[in-house]
Symmetry: C2
Subunit: 374 residues, 2 copies
Amino acid sequence: MSEAPSPVSVRVELGARSYDILIGPGLLQDAGHHFAARLPGARALVVSDRTVAALHADRLLASLARAGVAATLLTLPPGETTKSFDHLMTVVDRILAERLERGDAVVALGGGVIGDLSGFAAGIARRGMRFVQVPTSLLAQVDSSVGGKTGINSPRGKNLVGVFHQPALVLADTDVLDTLPEREFRAGYAEVVKYGLIDRPDFFEWLEANRAAIFAGGPARVEAVAASCRAKAAVVAGDEREDGDRALLNLGHTFGHALESVARYDPARLVHGEGVSVGMALAHRFSRRLGLCPGQDAVRAEAHLRAAGLPTRIQEIPGEGFTLEALMDRIAQDKKVTRGSLTFILTHGLGRSFVARDVAPEALGAFLAEELAG
Amino acid sequence: MSEAPSPVSVRVELGARSYDILIGPGLLQDAGHHFAARLPGARALVVSDRTVAALHADRLLASLARAGVAATLLTLPPGETTKSFDHLMTVVDRILAERLERGDAVVALGGGVIGDLSGFAAGIARRGMRFVQVPTSLLAQVDSSVGGKTGINSPRGKNLVGVFHQPALVLADTDVLDTLPEREFRAGYAEVVKYGLIDRPDFFEWLEANRAAIFAGGPARVEAVAASCRAKAAVVAGDEREDGDRALLNLGHTFGHALESVARYDPARLVHGEGVSVGMALAHRFSRRLGLCPGQDAVRAEAHLRAAGLPTRIQEIPGEGFTLEALMDRIAQDKKVTRGSLTFILTHGLGRSFVARDVAPEALGAFLAEELAG
Ligand SMILES: NC(=O)c1ccc[n+]([C@@H]2O[C@H](COP(=O)([O-])OP(=O)(O)OC[C@H]3O[C@@H](n4cnc5c(N)ncnc54)[C@H](O)[C@@H]3O)[C@@H](O)[C@H]2O)c1
Ligand SMILES: NC(=O)c1ccc[n+]([C@@H]2O[C@H](COP(=O)([O-])OP(=O)(O)OC[C@H]3O[C@@H](n4cnc5c(N)ncnc54)[C@H](O)[C@@H]3O)[C@@H](O)[C@H]2O)c1
Ligand SMILES: [Zn+2]
Ligand SMILES: [Zn+2]
């Protein structure tokens, strides 16, 4: 039946909760086969958003049907506001209405919003059902579908409610990214660059050489997704519940979250990956200013992001509100606060990031004031 | 400061998630000390129901204050309907409003309703905060506070949504049970008897000799709670996520749940422990009828439950609806169904229960028809 080449497989090692991420072009048409091989006899509830469902749900459902998997589809509105208690209840209720059992699976077909929401629902319905990720955005393929973090937003903040619930399988079809809006692709690419900047200087160099090919599709895209998943899998395996080393994955994110918050999470102004891009550029420039990172490394990191069409300066974000006070306030409130002390990811150079726990607020304030002055 | 004797300590062995259950009279006045010793520096949100809070919250809060623990109180309505999505949101929102961090603790002061709800909230707020149980009903002290099962009800059924989230500490003050309505005490006692009937014939015999003393309070009550916790802890340690042996804990529960469901969970008609009592008596009589259990053992189990003031026959439950059809239907729908096959706990005699997976529906129907005929 299958015409797709064998997918690349990345293993997430978590003892009894280990699982495979399969990555390749055309994988959706083999999804049923891979599902049935890993979860024999299981039924499926496919959860998607309306945009993604219209483009890709038919192929997934047809593939599940060919493999003899009983499946139904639930579609939700696209967008970050879908990560709410209300929609969580909707998914859970549908799981129970279908009388799915713990061995059956919730299948998330979509970006990080659908993955986070459906994974959370799978984590709490019957105190934990099987869960399969079919990420369709670049961000979801390289980041949110790997690692088991699931959740929703609260009126009090983003991602404040959720569970760690590992998927049983991740199927990343790199062809589905062809329908992703260019801006979303670029935003996801910021997270790809992040893995290079954290601790993989060779990967960063490879990205410098292959950026255009990755955007175009083909083997370079598969390799970029696979290398990113390997990088994230290694971090997750060492720190499943985010108590320690996983903090490095927040490179660019303390700044990025502050920017997103000031921009009121309005995607017309800033999407997550763009905030991360500006945040990583800021982290490098701040590290340079503190004498930690060579100037040429900061320049090179920034140049690559810019070449990919990503913003690297606060001034590039449309709209008002980016005052020193607003940013410092958001940074102090960042949820990565442990008993009052701020965790900041800084860098000694390309691919040499580290966790800094003692950044003086004055130095940060002075740096940001300069950035804002342009 | 403390005048209470040293509590009995029962360890729940779950590797990195191990914890102690402390049991004794007057323990509430030392709660702050035990909390601070296990969770140094942590703040607390105490969750309770209005009935329990009016009787016992002051002493707990005063004890926490004496130990230097910053704590606030959230009270909810008493009753099973509090285990809902709405109240879950209320607790989670309060946790976030107080800006509690992952190292801070939700403290459940109440019966199983408050424990299940607060534990679930603690399990999902910030993807898992610390959790402390201060069970105030006998059922909560001997059953629901031990083992990490948390959750809420769905319009589609009881306890269908939740997580496994182990507490960091359980504090069972046996004096608090003095204010528990007699009927609730008896209902909790059914679960105590259950541990004897599952696999502890010596404990069952000890209960026969000490029942009055347990109801009166004093050392026998402490010992009954401690022995029950030891029994449950042993099962939980072997099967944290309820995949296998934990099924024995459902002795009397398949029948019991069916009875509760037919009685529409109306506590005026039947509370959980009463359903379990009738269910255990039915399980013994059914086992006898199948030639599995000596008649005198079934008689003795039933006599002890009756001496404790518990019902043992379907006819004792007030109200209509207990038809063969209704009961068989509920039993077939019981959530302890694995791919269509029913799991039933039967017994070879006092303290010799086992998991039966191949009960013929005809035999069950014939037995229940006889029971209903009187
Ligand atoms: N769980 C984690 O570890 C983790 C990590 C990072 C981000 N996240 C979360 O992920 C979310 C962001 O993920 P996202 O960027 O994928 O957002 P998203 O799910 O909202 O997807 C972005 C947009 O792209 C559309 N889309 C997705 N795939 C498409 C495709 N193939 N073709 C056409 N359109 C497509 C969606 O409909 C949506 O409008 C955030 O909520 C964030 O908190 C979670
Ligand atoms: N998590 C588990 O493993 C588990 C196991 C068994 C039962 N449960 C759950 O536990 C719940 C039943 O627990 P419960 O019987 O404790 O119910 P409950 O919490 O409703 O308490 C029963 C009643 O007694 C009152 N009460 C409690 N302590 C009191 C005290 N010291 N003095 C005066 N009144 C007091 C309460 O206000 C309530 O009205 C059910 O929801 C059931 O699903 C959970
Ligand atoms: Zn990110
Ligand atoms: Zn019970």
